[in-house]
């Protein structure tokens, strides 16, 4: 159906540009925020005003100013530049953990949803167990076992958040499997693998983009929580959670040490949430 294909490519372009114009302001802002942090993660030096590790004992604990936008810490290091520097590690942890948890979730969810029966029952029970273990406790257990490192945090947060994805995907597979259009495809005489590949999997996966976007923000918040307890990646790496942890001791007389990294975490997570929810609405056809 080449001609149909050409038409749809063309109309998709038109559609896309129309959608672009209809995107609300908050999503634009969110995209700019996310873009900023992605650039910071890939090429931090482009955005930095100071060397994030350079100690300047003549200017410790300075309040935000033109010279130091977000102020300086107890060693005179520029907080803004440290936040930019830390984006890489925080984003790695967030993306890695989300990828891991969605990977686990996909395998569990699809198998449980497709196979069904006793197998599904056993897998669901296992998921219940993982669900019953609080994410942070699990993360601490992993840190306890393998010592603090980026990889530990990725695994800990990834495993801790996986059951949520698995449940969602399983439910999705089950609901799509029972959808009338799957039966309609069966009634047309299509073989099951084709139905699986062309209807069930794509439709079951459709909420995934939105979930992933929301998940990365949550993963970063969790990982920062571990670091906040002083159990994260060892200093002087300026991971956001570590910055938050370091700021705790100075919060009473140098609020910017705590507030600024927090704003970074919040704005990035919020940006992802806004975009994720927008995608969700978009995919559910609400817009």
């Amino acid at each position: 159906m080449s001609r149909v294909g050409d038409w749809s490519a063309c109309s998709q372009l038109i559609e896309a540009s129309a959608i672009l114009r209809r995107i609300p302001l908050r999503v634009h802002v969110a995209l700019i925020v996310i873009g900023f942090f992605i650039v910071a993660a890939i090429a931090p030096s482009l955005l930095q005003t100071h060397d994030p590790l350079a100690i300047d004992l003549t200017a410790p604990l300075q309040a935000p100013s033109f010279a130091h936008w977000f102020g300086t810490d107890q060693s005179g290091r520029d907080i803004y530049s440290r936040i930019v520097e830390g984006a890489g590690q925080s984003l790695t942890i967030g993306l890695g953990a989300t990828a891991l948890s969605i990977g686990i979730g996909l395998v569990f969810g699809i198998i449980a949803g497709l196979v069904g029966g006793a197998f599904d029952h056993v897998l669901s029970r296992l998921l219940d167990v993982l669900f019953a273990l609080p994410t942070l406790f699990l993360a601490l257990l992993f840190v306890c076992l393998f010592g603090p490192s980026v990889l530990t945090l990725v695994i800990a947060v990834g495993v801790g958040t996986a059951p949520g994805y698995a449940r969602m995907i399983r439910g999705q597979v089950l609901s799509v499997k029972g959808a009338p259009y799957v039966e309609a495809a069966k009634a047309l005489g299509h073989p099951y693998p084709r139905i699986l590949w062309r209807h069930i999997i794509p439709n079951a996966m459709s909420p995934l983009t939105a979930m992933m976007t929301l998940g990365v923000g949550q993963a970063i918040v969790w990982a920062a929580g571990v670091a906040f307890l002083g159990l994260g990646v060892a200093p002087p790496a300026p991971e956001w959670g570590a910055l938050l942890n370091a700021g705790r001791n100075y919060v009473i007389f140098a609020w910017w040490l705590e507030i600024m990294p927090g704003i970074a975490v919040v704005s990035f997570a919020l940006g992802l949430t806004v975009v994720g929810r927008y995608l969700q609405d978009l995919l559910e056809g609400k817009i």
Binding site: M1, R3, V4, S8, S11, A184, A187, L188, H190, R198
Partner: protein, 535 residues
């Protein structure tokens, strides 16, 4: 909706008629001041027994609602709070307007109200939740709640839409009774038959405007507006089979009709599909086996339409799924084109599935939401159509055949209207050139005008493409319009089978007679022979 005016009198019934989106429900809600937050109601005059309703503040409005105007909403399943006992809902108006002194009196009044509307075991039912009542009992309970404070006006918005025909007749009787007791009744309905039974005055609405207003006799016998005439004509009727009900021209294929069967009729006996002693049981949520289909046999001959009619729960849809071999029967077997069908493995069946298609009641859910119309139809084309250009041409041809423009090719199902969706579903069903199409309530969700068009289309296509239909419907009028032979089902069994005329003109069993009698008909003067109905 705009520019609507009418007056209601005690002991009379005014009916507002129109298709979906005609503004009839909004009108009724505006009268009780509940048109919704985003609605702006401007009325030059809205008076109730001399009181100007437009000038009322919220508190005074609440005194009018329930006490002076009772409101019966459509869809009784959700018109009562599903989490609260029925009695509590009915007693709420009494409690709110402080009409009772004690809880014992409240209980007595509630039971008396339920008895008034004819709910058996009223005291027991009052303590049950809405989902534990039958559809008819629920609708009666909703009416009881509206009548609780003996209001002078009763507004009923589609009060019988979801009900089986026998229950519908009873509920209409109940409404008629309240009218005779001196209530002013405002009836909102899309169903002309329902309206014709109790209305004294009719108001026809179309796209938010009143197109016709007059006494019931006048509107039904001598409709002035073309829309009213279309509505009356669109009603599935007893007119000769093949007469058209919509004003659209017949679907004419741009090229010679596609042959549906490559085989000549002699390669298989004239029976295309036959079932013998089908039994299907399902396990209910309580773990008890329920027999949905209980020993059904039927034959469908080549080129024939077998109408299957029955009330909800009669096993029609289960039977359709057995015929399509989507579910295996527990006993009995279906033969398709003279060969084994349900007894085959899915693998052996797959190649022949293209010869039997299905059209569902809800086309939207039967389409993959991500796929475009072109994709959906192309997907069901026979696999021998190899080249892309050929496929494209076939898809356009099929769209043309069902009366849709190729401009819809790239639309997604969500972007189509209800009628367009069902046309796409039909195009998908005829694409593999089937010998048989199983139509499961294909027009039940459509407005009466669209319904007429789709029925005409199905009739035309059958003639062009030499197919047979198993046509399932709860609507006796639709069945009568399309069928050659009719099978009446009840509680999983076949009550009666016969030619269309045998069933409709000379029913042998009690049940069929009762069904036909319960059908509200336009039995007024010039349209006396236009009896029609829904089950």
């Amino acid at each position: 909706m705009r520019g609507v005016s009418f007056s209601l009198q005690a002991g009379r019934c005014l009916a507002i008629v129109g298709g979906s989106g005609s503004g009839k429900s909004v009108t009724s809600r505006a009268i009780v001041g509940l048109a919704g937050r985003r609605a702006h109601v401007h009325a030059r005059q809205l008076t109730f027994a001399g009181t100007d309703l437009t000038a009322l503040d919220d508190r005074s409005w609440r005194r009018v609602r329930g006490k002076e105007i009772g409101f019966v909403l459509q869809d009784a399943l959700v018109a009562l709070d599903p989490l609260r006992p029925v009695g509590k809902e009915i007693g709420e108006a009494l409690r709110l307007h402080r009409a009772v002194a004690s809880s014992e009196e409240l209980e007595r009044r509630v039971v008396a109200l339920l008895e008034l509307v004819g709910v058996p075991e009223a005291a027991v039912k009052a303590r049950q939740l809405p989902h534990q009542l039958s559809g008819g009992q629920r609708q009666r309970a909703v009416i009881a709640a509206a009548l609780a404070l003996d209001p002078r006006i009763l507004i009923a918005d589609e009060p019988t839409t979801a009900l089986d025909v026998t229950v519908q007749a009873q509920v209409l009787g109940l409404l008629e009774e309240t009218k005779l007791r001196g209530k002013a009744l405002l009836l909102i309905s899309h169903d002309l038959a329902v309206v014709s039974r109790i209305a004294d005055e009719v108001l026809v609405m179309h796209e938010g405007k009143v197109v016709e207003h007059g006494s019931a006799d006048q509107v039904f016998q001598d409709p002035q507006h073309t829309y009213t005439r279309q509505l009356l004509d669109a009603v599935p009727s007893a007119r000769p089979r093949g007469s058209r009900r919509s004003l659209l021209p017949a679907a004419r294929p741009a090229r010679p009709p596609l042959r549906s069967q490559e085989q000549s009729p002699s390669t298989f006996p004239s029976v295309v599909l036959s079932a013998a002693h089908l039994v299907k049981r399902f396990k209910g949520p309580d773990g008890v086996l329920r027999t949905a289909v209980d020993g059904i046999s039927f034959e469908l001959r080549s080129g024939e339409t077998l109408g299957v009619v029955g009330e909800s729960g009669s096993g029609k849809s289960t039977m359709a799924r057995l015929a399509l071999a989507l579910d295996p029967p527990d006993e009995g077997a279906v033969l398709f084109q003279g060969r084994a069908w349900t007894t085959l493995t899915e693998r052996d069946r797959r190649a022949r599935r293209r010869a039997i298609s299905v059209i569902y009641q809800d086309p939207l859910s039967s389409f993959d939401p991500r796929w475009s119309v072109g994709h959906i139809i192309s997907d069901s084309l026979a696999s021998d159509v190899e080249s892309r250009d050929e496929r494209y041409e076939r898809v356009v041809e099929l769209l043309d055949l069902v009366g849709l423009s190729p401009a819809l090719l790239d639309r997604r199902p969500l972007e189509l209207s209800g009628g367009q969706r069902q046309r796409v579903a039909i195009a998908r069903a005829i694409a593999p050139r089937p010998a048989v199409i199983v139509c499961d309530e294909p027009v039940s969700a459509l407005d009466v005008l669209i319904q007429a068009q789709v029925l005409d289309l199905l009739t035309d296509l059958k003639a062009h493409l030499n197919m047979s239909y198993v046509f399932i419907s709860h609507d006796l009028g639709v069945i009568r319009q399309l069928s050659d032979r009719v099978m009446v089902m009840r509680q999983g069994r076949v009550v009666e089978t016969g030619t269309r005329d045998e069933i409709f003109l000379n029913p042998r069993t009690d049940y069929t007679q009762r069904l036909l009698a319960a059908v509200p008909s336009l039995a007024r003067g010039g349209v006396a022979n236009r009896s029609f109905s829904r089950v």
